[in-house]
């Protein structure tokens, strides 16, 4: 043994060391346990040195590295600052261009969809004066702009042209203290007058305290002012306290939200219905219209569907007259000659007057013999002719013929048309002034110079109290079969 150990001493030591390590590995693998002591020693010996090396590296090489990095930072910072400024300017420019494009597109869409003829204009300056709310736009008389024309945006009305110059126009904004316009509420149909206040909000005046309006309710133009066509949005109610006599309704103009830059000047206005009109509940139930009223024509022939109301039937009459005379309503500038309504051959059951111009009231005399009822004529809704007691005042040209079968009431309402010009020469279809000027013609009678008077024919024409009509509102013409014996009085 000693010989073996002395002869193979190195090999023996090697085998012992290898065997010891093999046993160590076998123990770890067999028991899945580590030898923490050796690892702790090694880690404790190595990691502090490693930490020191890292600190040294950080404060030597890292510092040098940072120094060389920072050498170019100043120039790079200046360069980035310049680029940032240029990008900001470019960004603002692009935002402005985008906003302008959006507004222009909105105007274009609105212009295409609106029945009114408009011209786009850009606000180029403000007027002088601390309280005046006027602006200059870049469209003038050479573009067809005239004083008194409405100025709108797709969001609502903006103002009206007060002066038109060749290349520019002065527009009074609706916030100007001297501005006024007729408005009507969307839901409750409350009429009022919009007045500027010199600040952001406008006041709707002349609304009785008894009238009901809701906060947030929209006001639309009513067309009463003959400047703004009916149906353009004005704004929402922000406050509506009761005043001494009238409500103090404050409206936030919708057309001036966020400032105005591009506007539309209404060259030829066309009335529109108030969009999405919600009729307020009257507080009492209303029965449905009788079947014969809703379905029969003046001749008694039922026409279901298209002509459902008397207004529609009367509208058809005027439309036919316009077609016969090759006249299109709503076209042509103010002052265009209207169709000759005195040449309407027949108003659907109303026979033409006699050639001698005999008063139709006289013709109505035999009506009872035919079992029919004569139809008195109302020139204005709500103003039933008081001439029931004044048969002798019947004018030859203002007579109403008794229809052969006047048993069916007809209430016709003309299509809303552009506001009549001041001289009443607009081409509105039911110009009662024209009818009154021609004796012996058709029985459509109304007050002269009253625009778009709808004709109401029927026994259920509303009474005066239920149809108060302002002087500028469409005036219906009424004919009552039950008043056939009464001489029609169209004296207005």
């Amino acid at each position: 043994m000693d010989f073996f150990l002395s002869r193979y001493r190195h090999l023996t030591v090697l085998l012992i060391v290898i065997s010891a390590q093999l046993l160590l590995i076998a123990y770890q693998v067999k028991t899945s346990k580590d030898i923490p002591l050796i690892r702790v020693w090694a880690v404790t010996a190595v990691t502090p040195v490693e930490t020191g090396l890292e600190l040294v590296r950080r404060y030597t090489w890292g510092f040098v590295e940072d120094y060389f990095v920072l050498l170019g930072v100043r120039s790079q910072n200046e360069k980035l600052r310049r680029e940032n400024g240029q990008l900001k300017i470019e960004n603002n420019y692009l935002k402005s261009e985008l906003s302008t494009a959006d507004r222009a597109r909105a105007l274009s869409v609105f212009q295409a969809r609106s029945p009114s003829k408009t011209v786009a204009a850009r606000v180029i300056g403000n007027g002088t004066g601390a309280n005046s709310k006027v602006v200059f736009v870049d469209r003038g008389s050479t573009s067809g702009v005239e004083s008194g024309m409405a100025v709108v945006t797709p969001d609502g009305i903006v103002g009206k042209v007060v002066d038109a110059y060749p290349t520019a126009s002065l527009v009074m904004l609706i916030t100007d203290p001297t501005f006024a316009a007729g408005v009507v509420s969307q839901k409750n149909r409350v009429h009022g007058t919009l007045k500027g206040q010199g600040h952001a909000e406008c006041l709707v005046d002349y609304v009785q305290n008894e009238e009901h309006v809701d906060l947030g309710e929209w006001f639309y133009t009513s067309g009463d002012d003959r400047i703004f066509p009916k149906g353009f949005p004005v704004g929402q109610i922000t406050a509506a306290p009761n005043g001494k006599t009238f409500k103090e309704i404050y409206v936030s103009p919708s057309g001036m939200q966020g400032g105005i830059e591009e506007v539309l000047i209404v060259l030829q206005a066309v009335h529109q219905e108030v969009p999405g009109a919600e009729v307020a509940a009257p507080g009492y139930s209303i029965l449905a219209a009788p079947t014969e009223i809703a379905t029969q024509t003046p001749q008694g022939a039922p026409q279901p569907g298209a002509l459902a109301t008397d207004a529609d039937r009367l509208r058809a009459i005027y439309k036919d007259a316009g077609i016969e005379q090759k006249h299109t309503y709503g076209e042509g500038p103010p002052g265009t000659k209207p169709p000759d309504f005195t040449k309407i051959p027949s108003i659907h059951g109303v026979p033409p007057p006699n050639a001698a111009g005999q008063p139709l009231a006289a013709q109505a005399q035999p009506a009872p013999a035919h079992g029919a009822q004569a139809q008195p004529v109302q020139s204005r809704l709500g103003q039933t002719q008081a001439s029931q007691t004044q048969p002798s005042q019947t004018r030859p040209a203002q007579a109403t013929a008794a229809p052969p079968k006047p048993t069916v009431p007809v209430v016709a309402k003309p299509k809303p048309q552009p506001p009549a010009s001041a001289d009443g020469t607009d081409d509105e279809p039911p110009s009662v002034a024209a009818a009154a000027a021609r004796p012996g013609d058709q029985p459509t009678v109304a007050a002269p110079h009253k625009p778009t008077p709808p004709v109401l024919v029927g026994p259920r024409s509303p009474g005066p109290s239920s149809n108060p009509t302002p002087a500028t509102t469409p005036a219906p013409v009424t004919s009552r079969p039950s008043d056939a014996r009464r001489p029609p009085d169209i004296n207005q």
Partner: protein, 177 residues
Amino acid sequence: MTEYTERILTEGPRKDAADRLRLVWLVVIPLIAVLSQVYVPRFIPFLAYLELPLLITVHFALSRGGPIPALFYGMFIGLVQDSLSHQPIGMYGIVKTLVGYFAGSVSMRFDVQNPLVTFILGFFFYFFHQFFYWVLSRALLGETLAFDAQQTLIFGLLNAAVALPLFRVLDKLRVAS
């Protein structure tokens, strides 16, 4: 037999130089080698191939001139390496023990100061180290490591190339100390 080969075979180990290695260097140099293997690849990943603890073991074995001290030195460095790895302790210990033993045995036969012998020994022991570690991993731990002989040969050449200046520097340090 030429004079050169005769000198290689007859000069023997440099026992006088090895004796002058101090204990401090015996501890610090392997520690630096292990640290460099752990720390340097973090910043220079390419240097992960450099097996400095192995080269230190080989240099110690060649310069010490005896297999017994060399095998213990190799075992020490190997166990330190094992302690900083996720493998069971003893894998690198066994491999470096064998490397130290064989390097110490070789040093008694060749002139290890000859650069060519140093290069060949460096290459051989690197290949032996990697191959034996792979065998032990498969045999003892059941791991299925891949052994890329071509890559191992290339890395062996690189380690042998590094060994030439490294051994020169370590010899200078030893003489200076």
